[in-house]
Every structure is written in structure tokens, then in C-alpha cells.
Symmetry: C2
């Protein structure tokens, strides 16, 4: 595996390749090509070949990619050949929906704890979770050695929650709150906000 200094934009495309290949597996497919992947993803075949070639030799000219093999390689590269436990902080609409999301299965993640600071929610059940008190967040995450978290609290509370998560040893945060988080350099943050996605499109509309 030669995988040093890969641009983050390339890393960001690997989960899309993996997702598409896993869908092909579900369809019972065995072999694909960079052309077909490109059509499904709206990415050029040349780009896909170039991205994958940074990590090794996964296909042969003319015979395409063995889907099972490439899936296993990508799972290993993205480190989802294991299951990462996740905590969700915020048991509102979005946090509850994400905690119950069935789409994590077989893709490397499992939600194991759901936190909130609202006494009306703490101790109550949401799906299979018993909502835990945010005041216990640092101890609970440290004890369980959890490295991945999702934040689904109001924007005004998100930075304080992020600080707690970092203190607890979390290294990767997916932030649903509509605010940019400031974290140390060795902590990774991805933001998702429906409004910024939508605004990026309305720019192009008449």
C-alpha cells in the first residue's frame, strides 16, 4: 500500500467509489470498469483510474476491476474493514434520526451512545438507545475508547460539545450544527448543513 501525501480531495472520492462498488455487489455484479464507475458517479474514467492508481494496482487494462477485491482494498484503505463505534450528541429530530439510521450497517460504523442535556430526554428511550446525560459524556467516551462522534445540537452549543469530545479523545467529528467548529490539528471535522448544500445550487438557478 503506497498511500502517503494523498490529496484530501482524492481521499474524499474513495467513499463514493466504495459505495458504488458495494451497490454493484448488491446487484450481484463481479467486474466493473472505470468507465462504468465514472458514468454512475459523474466523474471521468481517467480521474477514477488516476485516483485508484495512487493506492496500488487494482485492475488490468482491458479486464476491468474485480469488484469484491476492490471493495476489500478500499475498505482497508478507508479503515472500515473494522466497525467504529460512534456517539451522537443531541437527541433532537436530526440526532435521533441519525442515531437510528440503518445505513451505517456494513459500512464500518455503529452508533453506541446518544447524549442530550435536556432532563426531559435523559433516561428516555429513542429507538434502541437510552438517552445519556451530556455531563457524563467525557467519562463515558473515554472509558469506551470511542474515536468518532456526530454533533446534532444547536449551533450555539456545538463548539462547547466539540471541546468536550476532543477532551474525551474523539478524533473524528461529523457536525450537523450550522456552525464551523475549531478543533486541534489532529482532530478531523466534516460539516453537513442542508442550507449550505442548497445555497450552492440556488446560485445557479434563475
Amino acid at each position: 500500500m503506497v498511500a502517503k501525501n494523498i490529496p484530501d480531495i482524492v481521499v474524499g472520492r474513495l467513499p463514493l467509489y466504495l459505495r458504488t462498488l458495494q451497490r454493484m455487489q448488491d446487484e450481484g455484479r463481479l467486474v466493473t470498469s472505470s468507465q462504468e464507475l465514472g458514468e454512475r458517479l459523474g466523474i471521468s474514467a481517467a480521474q477514477i483510474r488516476k485516483d485508484l492508481s495512487q493506492f496500488g494496482e487494482f485492475g488490468k487494462q482491458g479486464t476491468g476491476y474485480n469488484i469484491d477485491y476492490l471493495v476489500n482494498q478500499l475498505r482497508s484503505i478507508l479503515k472500515v474493514d473494522r466497525v467504529w463505534d460512534i456517539v451522537v450528541v443531541g437527541a433532537g429530530d436530526i440526532g435521533s434520526a441519525v442515531a437510528r439510521y440503518q445505513g451505517f450497517k456494513d459500512r464500518g460504523f455503529r452508533v453506541v451512545m446518544l447524549f442530550d442535556n435536556d432532563p426531559a430526554k435523559i433516561g428516555h428511550h429513542i429507538g434502541e438507545f437510552t438517552v445519556m446525560d451530556t455531563s457524563q459524556l467525557v467519562d463515558a467516551i473515554r472509558s469506551a475508547d470511542i474515536k468518532v462522534a456526530m454533533i446534532a445540537v444547536p449551533a450555539t452549543a456545538a463548539q462547547a460539545v466539540a471541546d468536550q469530545l476532543v477532551k474525551a479523545g474523539v478524533r473524528a467529528i461529523l457536525n450537523y450544527a450550522p456552525i464551523n467548529l475549531v478543533v486541534p490539528e489532529d482532530v478531523y471535522v466534516q460539516h453537513t448543513d442542508p442550507v449550505t448544500h442548497l445555497q450552492r445550487m440556488t446560485y445557479y438557478l434563475d
Copy 2:
């Protein structure tokens, strides 16, 4: 307004600038700088100045940006100086949460319809919405001249829903289903999938 051939990556940063500036407004702030914006966003001040300069002259060397003015300009550029009606297709956990999301307010969007194809949900209330039958989607969207939609149905159903939305005249789709959608060139799609976000981070973890 000089705004032709702006790279999409630049367009994608404008909503982040707008969001941060609006937060400063909420904090009662009047003036900011590219340095401060950069610190809040983890983007270099030079990049921010370069991005904004593609759309006009918004600040003066040494005096910074007038926040209200820049907010208004960005709202106009992103075309969220109006309110776009949105439909949500899929009244499961994610769709219901997104339909009820309070964060659209004052940011250019308003959810007006929620669809599902499940007879157990159609006609029932979710928040302030009465779930509508997906079979009426094309007519309802056309009549109301709606251009923006969010898809929150299972992956296997998402492309068919997208085809219906396009047929109904929708031009911008935010897709929560974990599958890539294929749409005509004049339709814009943004994808959001917690798993691809998380995998992009686990790549970097030990």
C-alpha cells in the same frame, strides 16, 4: 456584479462565508476582516479575499468588511434574498427530521410539502405537514412551480424519485439517499451521506 465562470469550489465556499457572517450579525457585530473570517472557517484570509473579489469590491484595505452589506451581497449572489419553497420526498426518520428542521428560517428556504408512498403515512401529520402521496408529486410540484427538492427515500427508490422530480420541473436536488443520482445537465444535485463523511475521516485515523 461580475460573476461569470466562477469555479464551483468557490461557489461552494460562499454559503460558509454567509453563514459565518450571519452568526456575527446575531452576535451584534458590525465589521469583520478576512483574517477573522478565516480563523472561524479554517480558510486562509488570502483565499477569502480572492474568492470575494471575484464578485466585486466588498471591503477596503484596512477597514475590513461591513457585515450587513456583505451579508446582503452574498444573499443576492446565492439568490437567497428570496425564499425558495422546498419539497421533501420520504417521510422516514431523516425526511421527517429535515422537513421539521428549524434551520431553514432566514436562510432562504421553506419546506412546503412532504411526500411518501407508504399508505400508512399518507394523510397523517408529521409536524405541521400532512404527508402527501408520491403519486401526486409531479402534478403538485408543477402546479406550485417548485424548483428545489430533498430526497430522503431508500437508495433503491432514489433514482426513480429523482426522475419524477426532474419531470416536475425541479432544478436543484439535495439527496440524502446513499446513492449517486443521474440527472440532466441543467439540474443540480448535492449529495449528503453521513457514511461517506465519516469514511473520509477514518482514512486518517490509526
